[in-house]
């Protein structure tokens, strides 16, 4: 990992430790700002963060294609009528 620095930002390692919380938009505003500041000056981290984001998107898109089978839909319609 390279060691770009921004006067007020994280190191690569500090940014990387927050990778998933950053991608999940779960960081507090201060920490998110520090990660952003690091990404603004570190092309390596930008590319890796972007890859991880694409990987998560790929997983979601390719794994969410199922359709509830017709017999189940019919059963549930009957079930609700009987409730």
């Amino acid at each position: 990992m390279s060691t770009h620095t921004h006067p007020d930002s994280f190191t690569c390692q500090q940014a990387f430790q927050r990778l998933y919380e950053y991608l999940d938009r779960a960081l507090g505003p201060e920490e998110e700002k520090l990660v952003r500041q690091h990404l603004a000056v570190c092309e390596d981290c930008v590319r890796h963060f972007h890859f991880e984001e694409q990987l998560l998107t790929t997983i979601r898109e390719r794994c969410r294609t199922g359709r509830a089978p017709e017999p189940l839909r019919r059963k549930i319609a009957q079930l609700i009528e009987g409730l």
């Binding site: 999940d24 779960a26 998560l56 790929t58 997983i59 979601r60 794994c63 089978p69 839909r73």
Partner: protein
């Protein structure tokens, strides 16, 4: 469980012209919210249970229980997250009992695998190499689902709710009834295990 499904009192039901009318209205409202969610619920159930029949049973149980507690659903909040919470609770309480009778699988400890780094290493750090192009096109539905389904239940549930259903950490914490810190650590370890398996599948030529 009952407390976790919301605390609104069922008093609002009294404003719609008699008990029978209320029940009919409530049923229609429930059905209207539920119908567009059926594919989502079935998909989540399939990831959790890993079997079509068990998934269908879990969806039906979720519908029955969701309807029973529907008066506690806070109108205007996220119905998908609420139903997934009902489902997760049922899955953990009922289906894991059956799973526990079989072999209990734990996540193996080991070094984290980052596909990004592995791909670079394999490409000999060529300047124009693009790991995304190299990796993502190789990962098809069957491969990805297999990796998620290989996770032990407590990791599989968290990864499914986060990465497929896009629930927030807070919503997952409520659904699984674990602290947010535990959500984060299970999600991290689950995601790392999924990456490790995806990389292995790719090396074995199983990915498609």
């Amino acid at each position: 469980m009952q407390e976790s499904l919301g605390s609104s009192v069922p008093g609002h039901r009294l404003d719609c012209g008699g008990k029978v009318a209320c029940e009919v209205d409530q049923k229609r409202e429930f059905e209207a919210l539920l119908t567009p969610l059926l594919d989502t619920l079935y998909g989540a159930a399939l990831r959790m249970t890993r079997h079509h029949d068990d998934a269908a049973d879990l969806v039906q149980d979720t519908v029955v229980k969701g309807y029973r507690f529907f008066h506690r659903f806070e109108r205007g909040t996220n119905f998908k997250a609420w139903m997934l919470r009902v489902m997760t609770n049922l899955f953990i309480n009922q289906y894991r009992k059956a799973e526990k009778q079989g072999e209990h699988v734990e996540l193996e400890e080991g070094e984290d695998v980052w596909i990004w780094a592995k791909a670079w290493e394999q490409a000999g750090n060529k300047i124009n190499f693009d790991p995304a192009e190299y990796v993502l096109s190789k990962l098809g539905e069957a491969t990805i689902c297999a990796a998620i389904e290989a996770l032990p239940a407590e990791f599989r549930v968290v990864v499914t709710l986060a990465d497929i259903e896009e629930l927030s950490y807070e919503e997952i914490a409520e659904a699984v009834q674990i602290p947010i810190g535990t959500v984060k650590s299970r999600l991290y370890r689950g995601r790392k295990q999924v990456q490790k398996l995806l990389w292995e599948y790719m090396q074995e030529g199983r990915a498609a």
